[in-house]
């Protein structure tokens, strides 16, 4: 469908070449391509895969938006109402000490990964050292009371799984914070600029809040849709049987499930149930699935590149992936 319309479009430049020289053919090809793609889309709209793709994409967005709203409200409120000195007083001045404090703080506060990205951004804007904000970003969705209870329910009679998840996730968050202290470069991190109107003291704080909210929500929401679309594509295209090839080899099972966690983008409250259903994989591999999932997945990479820039998201996510896998192997091996 698409190809035929593109093929016919190739003849058009010759005819239309005289009057406005460059842009007209490109525009026509574009219009025809879009028309062809639309026609093709209408044809397959109700095919099982497309239907499933739509449902999964919408489901991830619907599931993420309340947490995004919560995170954006909190971050806009931090920006509009909380003075900077509060954070400098609460956190230790030394970044290396602030990292574990922020990591543990993240574990206490229930949050979802969609909420933690804007909050971490506004913490940095408010002068919290990036390393501590990043440790918070990683630990808040990965270990909090809600997630731990869900894990205990998903693995009945295996409290060691809950403990392993707590330890491995905290370890990853703190190590990543320290890695940022040691090797991080400020130019990788495009600090969130936020909406206009900073430094204009005369402005109404409520209006400031509304603008901050609208800007952050729209930006993060757009990237949430990008991540949801990518995850839905993998959900439809990649058959789960591909994974079973790796189930038998213990050393391939761990990276295989870690990669699955990245592409599936299941929220951290639910990933324990998915991990429990991945029978045939070693406990360490399932642990890696639960440690990696809330810290690195397609939707998070999209959200992070929206908030902190692509250069940051790529470096940070790949480093976190490696650290999380190593932490899972370490803790999973120690607790066996």
């Amino acid at each position: 469908m698409v190809e035929t319309s593109l093929g016919s479009a190739r003849h058009i430049p010759a005819a239309a070449a005289e009057t406005p020289p460059r842009r007209r053919p490109a525009l026509l090809i574009g219009v025809l391509a879009v028309a062809g793609a639309t026609a093709a889309l209408v044809r397959v709209w109700d095919a099982g895969g497309v239907q499933t793709w739509r449902t999964v994409m919408v489901a991830i967005v619907v599931q993420g938006v309340p947490f995004l709203v919560l995170g954006t409200v909190v971050s806009a409120a931090i920006g509009a109402f909380v003075p900077e000195r509060v954070f400098t007083r609460v956190l230790p001045r030394n970044p290396a000490l602030a990292v574990p404090v922020a990591g543990v703080a993240g574990a206490v506060l229930p949050g979802c990964e969609c909420a933690s990205v804007p909050v971490a951004g506004s913490l940095m804007r408010r002068g919290v050292t990036p390393a501590a904000a990043l440790a918070f970003l990683l630990s808040a969705p990965a270990v909090n009371p809600v997630v731990l209870v869900a894990t205990a329910i998903a693995f009945p009679g295996k409290p060691e799984m809950v403990l392993a998840r707590l330890l491995a996730s905290l370890l990853t968050a703190v190590v990543m914070g320290w890695l940022w202290v040691a090797f991080g470069r400020p130019e990788w991190l495009r600090l969130p600029t936020g909406p206009a109107g900073h430094g204009e003291g005369a402005r109404n704080p409520l209006e400031e809040f509304r603008r901050g909210f609208q800007h952050d929500f729209l930006q993060a929401g757009g990237f949430l849709v990008v991540g949801a679309a990518a995850a839905a594509t993998f959900n439809v295209l990649v058959p789960p049987s591909v994974l079973r090839v790796f189930a038998d080899q213990p050393w391939l099972g761990v990276p295989a499930l870690a990669c699955l966690a990245v592409v599936l983008a299941v929220c951290s409250e639910a990933d324990a149930f998915v991990a429990a259903s991945l029978t045939g994989f070693s406990p360490t591999a399932r642990l890696a699935f639960m440690v990696v999932g809330p810290m690195v997945d397609l939707k998070l990479i999209a959200l992070q590149s929206g908030a902190f820039g692509r250069a940051f998201a790529v470096r940070f996510s790949s480093a976190t992936f490696v650290v999380a896998v190593l932490a899972s192997i370490l803790i999973g091996g120690a607790l066996r």
């Binding site: 895969g49 709203v69 998903a154 206009a196 509304r210 609208q214 949430l224 639910a270 149930f273 929206g306």
Partner: protein
């Protein structure tokens, strides 16, 4: 006019997303096709916040515009009176007192427009719940924890599984009321060493997906613990005469378990169907509940 719309658009988009969330939760159970039931209140709350802030943004923008002069009186080089529009000379739209940054959030981040896609889908073309496509590709099976099951039918004449198994036919005939059962319970009982299902008539509800051979199809449920992205399946292989019901349709069926000793325990249990009829899709498609009477 265009400038007005560009300034309003981000706020309208926020309100649109909020309206979509309210549309699937208030007075409607559509949201259950995508997420778990527990998210209803957060969805309503965030929908309200979004609609409220979106409308506030629109109102703010409109009042700001009204305060701005539409036409300004002046004189040209020859001293003739002329009216000109300040907005047109500015180039881009005005944005309240903070002009220097106004450009940035007058448009909003461009990626934000992607949010319109799920919002419009929810408002106009509500995507259906996951169905046979997800169930029939080799999806991950939900874990059914082995449990100690109570004896089934209160009206069963012979107590104890052993007896029921020996007198399979008579028990099946005398128990007139089939036991409604969730697929989780049916699958769990089919692996029960006590064979508590033997000879019992049960009622199951699920949606249909095609089987590999004629006279065989699957009765499925998908269960979800957060959103549809984490769906896992439960399924029973149905043996029935006659053509299979339409794929993805929901049926309520009555039948007896068919033991298969030589098949691995992880494969779908089988049922011989005596009776079946179509039912509407349940309110919460991802909750594996036994069929309700009615």
């Amino acid at each position: 006019m265009k400038a007005t719309f560009r300034g309003l658009a981000p706020s309208l988009l926020v309100a649109l997303v909020g309206a979509a969330l309210l549309r699937i939760t208030v007075g409607s159970d559509v949201f259950l096709q995508y997420v778990k039931e527990g998210l209803r209140l957060p969805l309503i709350a965030s929908g309200t916040v979004l609609v409220g802030l979106g409308i506030a943004g629109v109102a703010r923008r409109l009042t700001e515009r009204r305060r701005e002069p539409v036409m300004r009186f002046g004189r040209d080089a020859e001293g003739n009176a002329v009216w000109h529009r300040p907005a047109e000379h500015d180039g881009h739209e005005h944005d309240g007192p903070g002009h220097e940054h106004g450009h940035d959030h007058g448009h909003g981040p461009r990626v934000a427009w992607l949010l319109a896609a799920p919002a419009v889908l929810l408002l106009c073309l509500t995507p259906p719940p996951l169905g046979s496509f997800s169930a029939n590709r080799d999806a991950t099976d939900a874990v059914v924890e082995p449990a100690a099951y109570a004896d089934i039918a209160p009206s069963a004449p012979g107590q104890g599984a052993q007896k029921a198994q020996n007198a399979q036919d008579t028990a099946g005939a005398s128990v007139s009321v089939p036991t409604p059962m969730s697929l989780t319970e049916f699958i769990g009982r089919s692996r029960d060493p006590q064979k508590s299902l033997a000879g019992r008539k049960v009622r199951l509800t699920g949606f249909v997906s095609p089987g590999a051979q004629a006279g065989e199809w699957y009765l499925n449920r998908l269960v979800v613990s957060c959103c549809a992205a984490d769906a896992r399946r439960l399924r029973v292989l149905v043996h029935a005469t006659g053509p299979a019901p339409a794929t993805d349709s929901w049926v309520d069926l009555t039948g007896t378990w068919r033991p298969t000793p030589d098949v691995p325990a992880t494969s779908a249990p089988r049922i011989d169907v005596a009776d079946r009829h179509a039912v509407p899709q349940p309110r919460a498609p991802y909750r594996d509940l036994p069929p309700s009477d009615g």
